[in-house]
Symmetry: C2
Subunit: 600 residues, 2 copies
Amino acid sequence: MSDISKPISQRIAQLRQHMAHHQIDACIIPSADPHLSEYLPERWQGRAWFSGFTGSVGTLIVTADFAGLWVDTRYWVQAESDLAGTGIKMMKIDAASATDHIDWLASNLKSGQRVAVDGMVLSLSAERQLGQVLSGRQIQLVTNLDLLDGAWTGRPGLPLQPVYEHLAPYAVQSRSEKLALVRARMQELGAGWHLISSVDDIAWILNLRGSDVNYNPVFLAHLLISKDQVRLFVSDGKINAALQAQLSAQHIHCLDYKQINNALADLPASSALLIDPRRVTFGILESCPASVKKIDAINPSTYLKSRKNSAEAQHIRAAMEQDGAALCEFFAWFDNAIGKQRITEMDVDREICAARAKRPGFVSPSFGTIAGFNANGAMPHYHATPESNTVILGNGLLLIDSGGQYVNGTTDITRVLAIGQPSAEQKRDFSLELKAVIALSTAQFPAGIRAPLLDAIARAPLWAAGLNYGHGTGHGVGYFLNVHEGPQNISWLTPPEPQTAMQVGMITSIEPGIYRPGKWGIRIENLVLNVPGELSEFGEFIRFETLTLCPIDTRCIDKSILSSAEIDWINQYHATVKTRLTPLVRGDAFAWLERSTLPI
Amino acid sequence: MSDISKPISQRIAQLRQHMAHHQIDACIIPSADPHLSEYLPERWQGRAWFSGFTGSVGTLIVTADFAGLWVDTRYWVQAESDLAGTGIKMMKIDAASATDHIDWLASNLKSGQRVAVDGMVLSLSAERQLGQVLSGRQIQLVTNLDLLDGAWTGRPGLPLQPVYEHLAPYAVQSRSEKLALVRARMQELGAGWHLISSVDDIAWILNLRGSDVNYNPVFLAHLLISKDQVRLFVSDGKINAALQAQLSAQHIHCLDYKQINNALADLPASSALLIDPRRVTFGILESCPASVKKIDAINPSTYLKSRKNSAEAQHIRAAMEQDGAALCEFFAWFDNAIGKQRITEMDVDREICAARAKRPGFVSPSFGTIAGFNANGAMPHYHATPESNTVILGNGLLLIDSGGQYVNGTTDITRVLAIGQPSAEQKRDFSLELKAVIALSTAQFPAGIRAPLLDAIARAPLWAAGLNYGHGTGHGVGYFLNVHEGPQNISWLTPPEPQTAMQVGMITSIEPGIYRPGKWGIRIENLVLNVPGELSEFGEFIRFETLTLCPIDTRCIDKSILSSAEIDWINQYHATVKTRLTPLVRGDAFAWLERSTLPI
């Protein structure tokens, strides 16, 4: 186990010792693993161990006489508290994608000095960017050194959770069908080989799942596909003999996780290897002979898995019903308990997970529940800890953002609940938020439009009232896979690149927000499916089908702010929710559903 | 004068002769001049002379056995007719910015072959793109040869129209104030020198105007600014002695147009030259010693001139009143004449220009009038010619897009008029179009938002009805300068780069459209000014002030399609139009204004 008793200053001192030994002047520890995943296995949570900062995104840089942590707006408050007394300086940046730390290195190091970063956790595109800036200043970049290995006392090993199958009928396409589609695209691109390190792509192609990280049902592996065979690099013991035999019969051969380097080294000279520069690491490609031609493209599976087919959509609708029913049970419990017993944010988390766990097909939460009362709800990425945990009492708003992984779909939903008597200003914010959700939910738009360009449709009603929010409006969602998946993203912060084009079958969240720091936060989030809209002389259009099924708290609505079309939308939505969930709930939960879906 | 009697095939033959003489395998003739302007002086209309295609954008490529013209969607119909019988093939591309012709060269030429293009009309960024692709194929790019000079019989010379001053009070800031602002930015960027070839930037900085091209009140020149002096390169005789002396007293020295090359060649070694790679040519920079450091940035004057100050805004409001009054007179004439006399699209153009010409401060039209009846209105870039000229008769819609250059502002307005009885479908389209205009006109948005991200706000009401349009929603507009000016652009086709950020003082058009090919076209266009909106805890917001003052034809409105807020908007707009224009119109024009602004 990772040794957390050692003070941070001592951990940094250990790192500096190793840096000196290797003649390294600066060391970068990003928040990344060899698979460039959102959730990191413990083994790659080095940034957290060395800095003490437990937020999910940040970059640590250590030199002989400086240690700094680059964090974006979301984490300024937390980093300030986590870093207090460690001697590590917080370096504020605007967005997670900013490259301020690279500029800092360029300005603060001298020509000839050496910067180390583990190339095995650095995306190819990040290395290109970093290398270009540093080489421009004659600063040397060392990527073949994993300083953490020596300096991190008790560094965890590779996760060893078993891999299991995602079975029919929920796995709608077979492995061989999926591989055929990937290979067709490889052929189009002129690639005889394809390396995949992104674990959601691997899980999707092979209809396999795992539990190596929190929340996303994936397992650590690399995949190498050629025209006639597939090699899966995964730690020994994770795949049992029966499953290995079955895969083997399908020409999918399991090799040890670390064998990927040898396999790349052995690629035939002048073969062409398809890679996604943002989803493979610089380090892994270092194994690849220079004679192998690299073909850069978005992983074909990224597109394929983003477009859910109609059978998958049908499964997801069923998962949404179960999820909605679980929430009815939770809310019924909450409604009965509030005012009678002490309920904290952490209780909400526990109860909501327990309600989901009773539902057929449930596997795990799809992310850490955000349950924030009043001021805590104003932090979009809040997660209650024993220190922050607040009793839900008095008047105000409770924001709950939660989700589940089911074998037939991934859910992600945010609702805001009235506690006691919400104020007029809270009702106004809630109603404006609802206008934003409805504006985008009811939009129709040309097929192929780049998703970031739709963001303004949700924001316009909030902007009109002088409101705004710092996060994106919607992220793609997987099918019993990552709750955040690309390539589409409804966010004005995302460049509208070709891969963000909206296509039928994609699932995206709609979740604008209003955050009043120190007071309250409001976010209403539904998942929506891209379905065919009109086909006119002006082209093919797409509209959204709202998948999420759960009442929106009408006690928070100021009807005078909504148009009659918006009131119709909410009543119609509630009628659908009631019809779809009624068969799945009983007793208090049914009574709660009934009174929560009354027309306004 | 350019010899237009010679058949196209003979012109191409002449070009091939010169190509052979210089061992050139392919020659590119773009639609461009040394100033990378939208409207080209005759001297640089070589693409039109050699191909016979008179549309404004297209790229001609000629080899020994092939001649092709690359044109975007806007020009497919026209090019097909213009190129018929010339032996030149139409090469269809999707957008003007596409690089298909470069790909064609790369695929169709052999290693070692030579491609010529006049570097003096090729932007630095275009050369980088072209050079990269061709050098990858070992194809040589020759840029120091102007093949047109020999092959174009009777090629026109440089335009020699006189330059005149833009005087106070309409020129609100003095030359020295503007130069101080440009120099402050040069210093920030570490540039001792700044080369400007874009003629609107030069005209703005120096408060000078000219008439070297149609519609934009500019003159051909290059400008070289250093810390202590300014050199203006302009053809002899264009600036009279008195003005030269005045400029000289302000340390602005006039040199011959062609001296720019020598001036660049003489730049001190290791000086730093600020250039905008999209607004200077590769050819001109060839004169610059390699020892001169190039600093790439958007021209500082591009930002400065886009933000009109409050005195300029006040002048523009007055120009809009005169422009609106001129339109009232035109529409009153039209209303009386239609049905009594034969009126064609070209008559509309003539009468509308005549009405503007009577107004104080009028200088010229700001672009070629688009007056299109029914099917002609469905071509967004239609301009009536003697061949296409249509009599306005019967039932339908007449689209008129026109504008004027005034010493106190530039106007650009589109209105659609009911002729006879518009159909229910026409009224529906018109009312949906109006919804789109109102949606964006009433929007509030965060200061600094990138303009392309606002496009969806205008499109959403049209998308909802299965409609769309192929052009952008709005372009920036100059102050007695170019009717199309950057850096902002409300278009989903424009990458939302930092320079497109919305700032207070910018003027932009709002002009969505609906085009039913072969039937009718609808476009309503107003110019709007960015004015401060709310300042809240969520930041600073901007809203639009509609500048354009002219009734919108309420006979085309189907009220049932508009919301009550939209009906209020149109009534309020018409009340403002009536109040502001009443003092400036009499007789029939006043009567027309009165009846055209009645509430609906």
